[in-house]
Symmetry: C2
Subunit: 159 residues, 2 copies
Amino acid sequence: MEQRAFQDYYPDQLSYCYGCGRLNEHGLQVKSYWDGDETVCIFEPKTYHTAIPGYVYGGLIASLIDCHSTGTAAAAAYRAEGRAMDTEPALRFLTASLHVDYLRPTPIEGLIEVRGTIKEIKGRKVVVTTTLSAGGQVCARGEVVAVQMPDNLLEVPPP
Amino acid sequence: MEQRAFQDYYPDQLSYCYGCGRLNEHGLQVKSYWDGDETVCIFEPKTYHTAIPGYVYGGLIASLIDCHSTGTAAAAAYRAEGRAMDTEPALRFLTASLHVDYLRPTPIEGLIEVRGTIKEIKGRKVVVTTTLSAGGQVCARGEVVAVQMPDNLLEVPPP
């Protein structure tokens, strides 16, 4: 995947997110990409991202789904307008709601894949559904309602 | 609050959870307590737990709601049986589903309070609803469906 990640287009002051900010050195640094009409994120959990030993912490799963989905929402909104992600005006999204169904324990060995599908784009709202897989099995499903960030939050100063 | 936290009753091999395990030195170490018929968790976010600057990361909010709710589910199941949390057989809970509605940005300065209410106990399932407050305002609401952990997962070896 040679393309630039969605999150690498975010302006500096919005790049400190613990989940996906490229400037948050303590964070997860989630990276999301187009794969046809779907989006994909590959993540390697740390050994301490455990729930019960051998399995991934559910809060990490929620975090991956959250950031991958808001990134997907932004990319989908640009694509719907026929614009590249580095063009103005900036389109960034917040999470209005997050739902995760945990289908089975997620093994912590190896890579996690989160795949996103755009379910709906309507006005300032984008709904993204996701599957999270590990070890060749779908372990969780997610749905995020993302809303476009108001201008006053787009202009916050960096920390 | 002089009482022992729910999570401090978990056996060692189940105390490595990134969210609430007392033996996970990289983790959040969530602590939950009874407050009458409700449960409460107080958490101080780190400066790097940011979403956009000044506000708390949504994945952290989901994590706090998740661990506080599964802890609440365990405590509620013991209370329903009239047993103390250090008696056998052990009752531990996994998250079957997690839902979070983000009502407003959560300020990162100061403390976060998560309050849990037991909505339903039925067989091996407990449903917990939560409010998450900061700066005197409710910033998010959560609902977790927790299910009792199968015996084979209770007996995993420590990492």
